[in-house]
Symmetry: C2
């Protein structure tokens, strides 16, 4: 069976041949499910497998000694979970499912083996990883230099854009299982302040976050307000023919 999540993900970066596709098929046929709240990858562990998210939401985060947590990114269908943990000796972060999730598993040796067989796959993974890194960089800029409202606006717009790419959102809005606590840990604010800022954005007629749904009340004004620029998401199409 063709057309799994990993193929869609990598196909966005390089056009894959038949043989490459069949190598991919071999790579990730093990399907697994995880329940919400129980970590999939744990900081400090040595991981033998990564996953590609088929359905549901997850988040990758780091804990500080004092118990504070910084969410690095949320993962939506099509995204890798724990790829960096697989590539590095010990995982530098944890991954937790926010909802129940379905994933396909990718074993380290299989992945590295596949690179040797079909180098274009390695290039594709490298490009996918670069795009992920670009997103982290963008978050860094947001947290370092934007105020609370701009940060939250950017955050919601980025999520919306990513979900739209996989058919789960539009300029009107998207379904969103995140609590205000989760958003706070992602944008580096307190949950209390997230609440206030969301109210502000709602009263200004920009976005409404309510009952698990994010509605863009005025997408263009919101994008302008947030200085939202998604070139970093680099979704023009395959770089390699």
């Amino acid at each position: 069976m063709r057309n799994n999540a990993l193929e869609r993900k990598l196909g966005a970066f390089v056009a894959l041949s038949e043989t490459e596709l069949s190598v991919l098929d071999e790579l990730n046929k093990r399907r697994r499910t995880f329940v919400a709240g129980r970590d999939i990858v744990e900081q400090g562990q040595t991981e033998q497998s990564a996953y590609v998210l088929a359905s549901g939401w997850a988040c990758s985060y780091k804990l500080l000694q004092d118990g504070q947590r910084q969410i690095v990114d949320f993962q939506i269908p099509g995204d890798f979970l724990g790829l960096r943990s697989l590539l590095m000796h010990v995982s530098d972060h944890s991954v937790e499912p926010i909802t129940d999730v379905e994933v396909t598993e990718v074993l380290r040796d299989d992945l590295l083996g596949a690179f040797t067989q079909t180098p274009r796959l390695a290039t594709a993974v490298l490009l996918a990883a670069s795009r992920d890194e670009a997103m982290v960089v963008e978050h860094l800029v947001g947290i370092g230099r934007r105020n609370a409202a701009e940060r939250l606006a950017n955050f919601l717009l980025e999520l919306g854009a990513r979900l739209t790419l996989v058919g789960l959102g539009s300029k009107a809005g998207f379904e969103c299982p995140l609590t205000q606590y989760l958003m706070a840990d992602a944008v580096g604010l307190s949950a209390v302040h997230v609440n206030r800022v969301l109210r502000q954005l709602r009263e200004d007629g920009l976005v409404t976050v309510h009952e698990g749904f994010v509605s863009f009340d005025d997408y263009d004004r919101l994008a302008k307000f947030a200085e939202f620029d998604l070139t970093y998401m680099d979704q023009i199409g395959p770089l390699l023919k």
Copy 2:
């Protein structure tokens, strides 16, 4: 001639064979120099080449519309400059030399071509990119969840550790061409506050930053204070034999 900067960089992640080394030699023989202050890579441009820093310091940064700047990372000898810009369609950041720098140039087509010939190279680059991403993630956590003093302490410790790896620093300290303005843009503070916090750290007998030199006055106490943990730098040795 063997033993250039790129070989050292990638050799840290995979053990490279003779043929792989010779491919590498072909890859980056063009040596260039850039003067301090004039951008090497520019946000929004499409880049055809990346570089490996042979000597000097550089920084990668992003600008916001209002003129604020966030420095994403500093590059020291052995680091890539603009690798992500090469891999993506359009560069999401700029790179500026802080001192005069010497680099070797790597052309996009050469790099992608080399991946096809020797897939292990692709793996090596992927691992190197993962380590870079891990550092950005660590910066994100620092900016999101640590206070000014912890942030600066972490920042100096990380620079020290990285410089030590390439023989340019030790637990005693390192030479450092960064102004307080540059540090401020990197850790997301104002230069004024950087100044005050550095004074605080100095008065507490932890670190002294003076006349282009960073001295760790009490490395262990500083590391403890900053909760410094360098597992994310992942320098245990080659993952692949």
